[in-house]
């Protein structure tokens, strides 16, 4: 039996050494997670063609899994949300945000409400949502959690749990819309991109669910790369990668994110996100 075991370990060790130089990337699961591999597989192919290296997409189920994969060097590149990007860059010294979607410069969150609440669209923060049931998106989401929670705390000076009758985390933006539309929750916070896409696709019944407020703009999603990729893939790799991203014009690829196009970004743009996260205690200060 000893032989068997040592054989197994030998195989394990050997295979670790034998790994080729592959750039792995991941993308946070923001909306429907079905067929992620198909969608992002094409992006991997695009990057592989331009960069002339193997590129592999690794699917993840949660924001924290993507951050951990980045920390572990299991992925060297990731399409993060604002918050997960900040968390990841804080944990991996030298890592940089290199690109963002055009829309990410002025991202907003919509508060949406079920028709039965009688809440109407307003410019001022709708204080009458107090006492209703409320759902965020994923716990680690910028647009589904961080920003709405920040504005809710600012308006009420209390934690969401003591403001609402019930607080939930739907898991993703599509689910938030579905839950508020079905009335399972009365109010919800949703990423404006996902809302508008689903509206266009005819998935939203506006007689049941309406936007009642939108947050001021903030920066959101970003492509972040580890600091050690130049050492690994050759000098100037980060710049080449950045170029490959901002020159991505194929609409089928961009629709996976969904963004009109990518533009350059850097770490300093995300300082407000870090501050907000510290402010409400998601990141410790």
């Amino acid at each position: 039996m000893k032989k068997w075991i040592s054989g197994c370990f030998a195989i394990i060790l050997f295979s670790t050494l034998a790994q080729a130089q592959t750039l792995s990337f991941t993308a946070i699961p923001d909306q429907n997670t079905a067929r992620l591999e198909q969608r992002f597989g094409k992006v991997a192919q695009y990057l592989a063609d331009i960069l002339k290296i193997d590129v592999k997409y690794i699917p993840v189920k949660s924001y924290s899994a993507s951050v951990n994969a980045f920390k572990n060097d299991q992925v060297q590149l990731a399409w993060f949300g604002g918050l997960s990007g900040v968390q990841a860059r804080r944990a991996v010294a030298g890592s940089q945000a290199i690109a963002q979607g055009e829309e990410d410069q002025y991202f907003v969150t919509y508060l949406i409400a079920h028709a039965s609440t009688g809440l109407q669209r307003s410019d001022a923060f709708p204080k009458s949502i107090a006492g209703k049931t409320f759902t965020f998106g994923s716990k680690g989401s910028t647009s589904g959690r961080l920003m709405p929670e920040y504005y809710i705390r600012q308006s009420f000076d209390q934690a969401p749990k003591s403001i609402f009758k019930r607080v939930g985390f739907s898991g993703d933006h599509s689910k938030t819309i579905a839950l508020v539309q079905s009335g399972s929750y009365q109010v919800g916070a949703v990423n404006f991109k996902v809302w508008e896409r689903e509206l266009k696709e005819g998935k939203i019944d506006t007689s049941q669910v309406q936007v009642i407020w939108k947050t001021p703009t903030y920066v959101d999603y970003n492509w972040t790369v580890r600091g050690d990729v130049d050492k690994k893939f050759g000098k100037g790799f980060t710049r080449k990668l950045q170029n490959a991203l901002i020159t991505m014009h194929d609409k089928t690829l961009l629709d996976s994110f969904p963004r009109k196009q990518f533009i350059k970004a850097d770490n300093s743009m995300y300082a407000p996100i870090l501050e907000t996260a510290m402010n409400i205690g998601i990141i410790e200060k």
């Binding site: 068997w4 075991i5 197994c8 195989i11 394990i12 050997f14 295979s15 670790t16 790994q19 429907n32 997670t33 079905a34 690794i58 699917p59 993840v60 189920k61 949660s62 924001y63 924290s64 899994a65 951050v67 951990n68 994969a69 920390k71 572990n72 060097d73 299991q74 968390q87 804080r90 944990a91 010294a93 049931t133 994923s138 716990k139 680690g140 019930r166 939930g168 985390f169 898991g171 993703d172 599509s174 689910k175 079905s182 009335g183 399972s184 929750y185 998601i282 990141i283 410790e284 200060k285």
Partner: protein, 496 residues
């Protein structure tokens, strides 16, 4: 026995008022209808698309179970030694999903994470059960040994042959559990069936859900035909070869996690802020850090976990007492009995996590889905076991003719002690499940652990997991005390 039962029933009754049982969805029936349609018209093409997840599920379970049998057997030899006993109690007190969440940042999203998540808690379980089997085995063969024979030969020639059948039986049962565990690991992101089940559930693709579930049942039902003792070695080796393709381990991640990331934040704070990543210690700030977690989240999580556990404990008991006559020969015969037996098998084969997930889709996040899911799953297991025990009873010649009288005046009194022993045996299992279901949005300990992990605060997550383990060990001990005091025993049980 009656006093204890009534005490637990009244506790559960009082806690029921504290529990949040609201159905929050406006139209649960519509969703249920769609689920029913999915159940009738499963989409087996979807299964083909997730064939790799099937393979992963089986492979993780095989590797996990192999490692845990090996480690568990070794630890079983030292089980009389208290530190070993405590260590085993601790590693099995933490649910495999929590272990997966701990291993995820350490080894990354790769097969080793899944294998370890199964192997670690199962090692604790095997060590305990193997040691128990050995203790309760027939010691008479040992008397035939010459006085100075070595302990090794005593074991291999005197003990092992006597207990081998039991060990094999139990290990085979555990393989089934490991497959269930392996499947649900997908819910936290590992590439097993749960990954796709969660996606399909979330998007309401119930035809896919049921196709995957049906194939999973088939897999479990077919185990006994292709897992034969002599060839299981081949499977294990194949499984290890298979995972070795993707495995990568980094010592750096390991040390970073265990010597840095899980340290309480106040110890790391200065280093993070000035960029040196140094560690400093002041007992005051660490104490306040812990106190703050307990006050804001810990106590609330513990309270909700206890409420859920106690309600579920009694709920399971009630369900068991209702269903066991359906599978017992003194009450049912022929086809109805067989049908109820299959139904119980299906329910207990469905992991409680998946049941809870399904009910959550129907009713929204309150304790209700969790109570029903854990109650059903455990009730099916205990109903089956109690039914088996009741089958063994020789009815008295003057047994009541009427089934109701027979149930209350003959069968129930004779199986009640054993039933209670089984129920208390599973008490800590139910607590573990109650805690873990927090990940789905019920405010038990799992909710706060999941939140800490998604905020990337591993220190807090580990602190809360330790608390969960502690609570579990307390319940395990209480259960042992109660069983001893009531002088009830399951004898050797395969319900772990």
């Amino acid at each position: 026995m009656l006093k204890t039962s009534l005490l637990f029933v009244s506790i559960a009754f009082i806690l029921l008022f504290a529990a949040d049982l609201e159905v929050t969805t406006l139209n649960p029936w519509q969703e249920l209808q769609r689920m029913a349609i999915g159940a009738v018209v499963p989409d087996f093409m979807a299964v083909y698309a997730v064939k790799e997840a099937f393979l992963n599920t089986v492979v993780f379970a095989f590797c996990g179970i192999f490692l845990s049998i090996f480690m568990g057997s070794v630890l079983a030899f030292f089980f009389e030694w208290k530190p070993v006993r405590l260590f085993c109690a601790f590693i099995r007190a933490v649910h495999e999903l929590f272990w997966a969440l701990i291993f995820l940042p350490v080894v990354g999203l790769n097969p080793l994470c899944g294998v370890f998540a199964i192997a670690v808690p199962y090692t604790g379980i095997f060590a305990k059960v193997y040691a128990e089997i050995r203790q309760e085995s027939d010691h008479s063969p040992l008397k035939a040994f010459p006085p100075h024979s070595s302990r090794v030969s005593q074991f291999f020639y005197g003990v092992l042959p006597a207990i081998y059948a039991d060990i094999k039986h139990y290990s085979a049962y555990r393989l089934e559990c490991a497959l269930r565990s392996s499947a649900i690991l997908g819910f936290v992101g590992l590439p097993t069936l749960g990954f796709h089940l969660e996606t399909a559930f979330r998007e309401g693709l119930y035809s896919e859900v049921f196709a995957i579930l049906y194939c999973f049942y088939f897999l479990i039902a077919s185990l006994k035909y292709w897992i034969k003792e002599k060839v299981s070695w081949i499977y294990v080796v194949l499984a290890f070869v298979f995972i070795s393709k993707e495995v990568s381990l980094s010592w750096q991640n390991f040390t970073r996690f265990f010597t840095y990331e899980i340290l309480p934040w106040p110890m790391r704070r200065r280093g993070v802020l000035d960029g040196t990543m140094d560690v400093s210690f002041s007992s005051d700030s660490v104490w306040n850090w812990g106190k703050n977690i307990l006050q804001t989240e810990g106590f609330d999580g513990v309270w909700n976990t206890i409420v859920l556990t106690q309600v579920v404990l009694v709920g399971t008991g009630v369900m068991t007492l209702i269903v066991f006559p359906l599978v017992c020969q003194h009450f049912q015969q022929g086809i109805p009995r067989r049908c109820s037996r299959y139904l119980l098998i299906v329910i207990r084969t469905t992991p409680e996590y998946i049941l809870a997930y399904a009910f959550l889709q129907l009713w929204g996040p309150s304790m209700l889905p969790a109570i029903v899911a854990i109650g059903l799953h455990n009730g099916a297991i205990l109903g089956h076991l109690t039914g088996q025990n009741a089958d063994l009873i020789q009815l008295r010649a003057d047994t009541p003719r009427g089934k109701i009288n027979r149930y209350f005046f003959e069968v129930l009194p004779r199986v009640y002690g054993q039933f209670l022993a089984f129920l208390f045996y599973r008490w800590e299992v139910m607590m573990r499940e109650s805690a873990i279901l927090g990940i789905l949005g019920i405010y038990t300990l799992g909710f706060y652990i999941d939140s800490a992990i998604s905020d990337d605060k591993m220190d807090k997550a580990v602190f809360l997991i330790l608390m969960t383990a502690l609570l579990n060990m307390v319940i395990d001990t209480t259960s042992q005390v109660i069983r001893k005091r009531l002088k009830i025993s399951t004898k050797l049980t395969t319900s772990g």
